[in-house]
């Protein structure tokens, strides 16, 4: 199977979907001749032309609004938001129009559109590096997807582009410099399916997007101490794959939820509550960014975002608090 850059997996998914469905159009800043802020639309303008690959001005409210209108009128737009922070400007058309359209019109109108945004801290500071994933989970009518590998980016984006209602699809900046295996032939990843990245019996580490990569690193540190972790990559933040999560939690009895966004009203908080309803006696902990805006200082950024060391320490503390550290480690 071919190994591709993260951006190449995205370009391949989009190109295949545009070949398949003439209703798919792209809208976003610098996506046409420039090839995208992350080079993830390289070649698509040349291949599909200016009518289907459209540059937009620096006006996110307009971009998302036009995408929602185009979707309601029968197209399948994919709108690019370079930094998820600026999706705030497009929340009115996304939340008040697109997400509610099916409900408000009793199913007579729908908005099958994808808003593809890029999140995460990589030196861009307070207003270009946030992780706002849990905001979108809160909105009825939105599907929320966030891959952590090139293969998942390919499979999830294709599913997103075929969905019948609006999808927020979020990439992380730190995933772009990585390569990954992408299936040779077309393979969609169903919405609502988490991936078990590593199996272990003592604790379940639940993460998504780039934090899945960091959590796998933490799991290696823990394994060296005799603590074996299940690492679950959510992939789909809404709908949530409760079955996969609950099965793991029943086995380990302990779950640590890791995210790059804020803990308060965060992804982990929602999952911990939902899983405690499903798994009797589950012991939980959560780890997110420290409560401050993302800093432009690399030192402060690293201090506030979870890293493998902090994740491993949180997992140790969770087990220790409940007297569950594997006996050989006590």
């Amino acid at each position: 199977m071919p190994r591709l850059f993260f951006r190449e997996a995205i370009a391949r998914a989009i190109g295949e979907e545009m070949d398949r469905d003439p209703r798919v159009i792209l809208m976003g800043q610098d996506i046409a001749a420039h090839g995208g802020s992350y080079a993830e639309t390289r070649g698509l303008f040349e291949r599909f032309g200016a009518a289907r690959v459209r540059n937009t001005p620096v006006a996110e409210a307009v971009t998302v609004g036009m995408a929602a209108g185009a979707a309601a009128a029968g197209l399948r737009p994919l709108a690019f938001i370079t930094y998820v922070d600026f999706l705030m400007l497009g929340l009115d058309p996304l939340v008040n129009y697109a997400a509610k359209l099916r409900f408000k019109s009793a199913g007579q109108l729908t908005a099958p559109m994808v808003v593809k945004a890029t999140a995460g801290a990589k030196g861009q500071g307070p207003t270009h590096a946030q992780s706002l994933d849990s905001w979108f989970m809160n909105v009825p009518g939105l599907t929320v997807l966030a891959p952590s590998t090139a293969g998942d980016a390919y499979g999830l984006l294709k599913s997103a582009m075929r969905a019948s209602d609006p999808v927020v699809y979020i990439d992380h900046k730190r995933l772009f410099p990585l390569g990954g295996i992408v299936p040779e032939t077309e393979e969609l990843i169903p919405v609502g399916s988490a991936a078990v990245r590593r199996e272990g019996r003592h604790v379940t580490l639940v993460a998504h997007s780039y934090m899945s990569v960091v959590s796998l690193d933490a799991a290696k540190h823990l394994a060296a101490e005799g603590i074996e972790s299940d690492v679950i990559d959510l992939r789909s933040l809404w709908p949530i794959d409760w079955d996969t999560l609950a099965a793991s939690c029943r086995r380990t009895g302990h779950a640590l939820f890791i995210e790059e966004g804020q803990e308060v009203c965060g992804v982990g908080t929602e999952l911990a509550f939902g899983l405690q309803e499903r798994v009797a006696g589950l012991r939980v902990a959560r780890l997110g960014a420290r409560r401050a805006p993302v800093s432009a200082s690399p030192v402060l950024e690293a201090h506030m975002i979870p890293d493998a060391k902090r994740i491993a320490q949180c997992a140790r503390d969770l087990l220790r608090r409940h007297g569950s550290v594997p006996t050989e480690q006590r």
């Binding site: 850059f5 992350y38 080079a39 730190r174 772009f176 410099p177 990585l178």
Partner: protein, 102 residues
């Protein structure tokens, strides 16, 4: 002296690059300022140019291969006929190179 051509760690730790192609071939002489290889990051094409002369002796990756910062991509020697160490030896000094990013 045997010198190693190292993919620069300044690119960052969490990054992979793909070798586009060698500009020089094994056994070829490299003058100061000659391009030796070209690789691709997620955003840029990087042309690696020798900042000192030597002979390209062993290439450890093929076009299309994935490399990481810190990987030794090749061995060069000051004299074209110097005996090479066994593969896996951390041979010699790091070759001085410059990087042209487009």
């Amino acid at each position: 002296m045997i010198r190693k051509l190292v993919i620069p760690k300044e690119l960052g730790e969490s990054i992979e690059v793909r070798l586009l192609d060698w500009v020089k071939t094994e056994g070829e002489l490299v003058n100061t300022g000659d391009a030796v290889l070209e690789f691709e990051t997620d955003k840029a094409i990087v042309l690696v140019t020798a900042a000192q002369a030597g002979a390209l002796r062993r290439c450890f990756f093929d076009a299309g291969d994935w490399m990481k910062p810190g990987d030794v991509a090749a061995w060069l020697s000051d004299q074209p006929d110097e005996p090479l160490p066994a593969r896996g030896d951390s041979a010699g000094e790091t070759l001085e190179v410059t990087f042209d990013v487009t």
